[in-house]
């Protein structure tokens, strides 16, 4: 496997670009997919956003300065893409972000690509009640098992702040699940 700096160099060089890009896609497609899926919930939307994310990465790689790690830069693009996708979708349907989320959750039960049991569905509903930031932190820490340091670089938030968000998120989820 290429070192990250070499991979970035190859991505910027027209001669090696396509091979390097394929390597990049192969390395990150699954991780980024599951990250996006946890935000948009449905497979078709996640597929759209994932493709857009890689297109953006490809187009903007020349502007990548290497101030952060490549993977956290890509995660950041994926997060922004997923969130703006949801905003655009709710605007097109003329409904609020919350309403869109409720509809997506209702459809989840009938989704062929959701095989969760009752408790997994309840957990998704509980996560949906969290503010955006806590939702992201919870998904990244709990399901994707990223380290606080990694999340901190992706979301550009202090580790302390992230711990607070995660703590609040788990408390709210627990309260939701015990009251429900």
């Amino acid at each position: 496997m290429l070192a990250e700096a070499d991979l970035v160099e190859e991505l910027k060089d027209a001669k090696t670009q396509s091979r390097a890009f394929e390597l990049l896609v192969n390395t990150y497609k699954q991780r980024l997919y599951w990250h996006i899926r946890s935000i948009v919930l449905n497979h078709d939307d996640a597929d759209d956003v994932l493709q857009n994310t890689f297109v953006k990465v490809f187009r903007n790689i020349n502007g990548f300065k290497g101030d952060s790690k490549l993977y956290s830069w890509m995660y950041r693009i994926a997060t922004n893409e997923a969130l703006s996708f949801l905003k655009q979708k709710s605007r097109k349907q003329g409904i609020s972000n919350e309403e869109l989320q409720n509809r997506t959750l209702e459809n989840l039960e009938a989704d062929v690509y959701f095989e969760g049991d009752e408790i997994q569905l309840q957990l998704q509903k509980a996560i949906a009640t969290l503010p955006e930031k806590q939702k992201l932190v919870f998904n990244m820490k709990y399901f994707q098992e990223l380290k606080y340091e990694e999340i901190s670089e992706i979301l550009e938030t202090s580790v302390g702040g992230l711990k607070a968000s995660y703590h609040l998120a788990t408390k709210k989820i627990e309260a939701y699940l015990t009251n429900d």
Binding site: V55, N60, S84, F114, D117, P131, A164, L168
Partner: protein, 170 residues
């Protein structure tokens, strides 16, 4: 072992202590929620195998799209600047009427253009064309933040004040 000592008048049901551990375990598991570690999402068979091709197609498609969009963008800027000039020069002198004027048409067109077209612009791309040094924070807020809003926000997002000091929590 039904009584603790001979002075104790109380008794327990037979085999009470033998079954206690099990009962306690089941009680504990009822109370603590065991959260699933999986989200339950699945993907179509072979999805990741076909993904690379789809991304490359999309890159080719969007590159052609950019070329087509460019001349149109120029007209849009010209139209917007003319509309802005008209607004500046005549705006104060014109009586507002219900009739359609060039002014209202241009504004409505611009608004509906933004509403109905998917620009596919990310925050990064928008940031590239907006001169940040000319922006005031209030330009980005549709409503100015009142104290009441801030208190509401804190109320909603923090459970109690101690939780704000979590730097050393873990």
């Amino acid at each position: 072992m039904e009584t603790f000592n001979k002075n104790n008048p109380f008794k327990t049901p037979e085999d009470y202590f033998e079954g206690f551990n099990e009962k306690l375990q089941s009680k504990l598991s009822e109370e603590s929620i065991s959260l699933p570690k999986q989200e339950g999402f699945t993907i179509p068979h072979g999805y990741f195998d076909s993904l690379n091709g789809k991304i490359l197609n999309k890159i080719e498609r969007t590159e052609t799209k950019v070329v087509q969009l460019n001349p149109f963008k120029k007209y849009y800027y010209v139209a917007a600047s003319i509309a802005a000039m008209v607004l500046l020069i005549f705006g104060l002198n014109w009586n507002t009427t219900e009739e359609l004027s060039f002014e209202t048409l241009a504004e409505a067109d611009i608004e509906s253009y933004f509403e109905n077209n998917t620009f596919d612009l990310s925050a990064y791309e928008i940031a590239e064309v907006i001169p940040l040094d000319e922006l005031e924070i209030n330009d980005m807020l549709t409503n100015r933040l009142e104290d009441e809003n801030i208190v509401d926000y804190l109320d909603e997002n923090t459970d109690d004040f101690e939780e704000l000091n979590l730097e050393d929590y873990e």
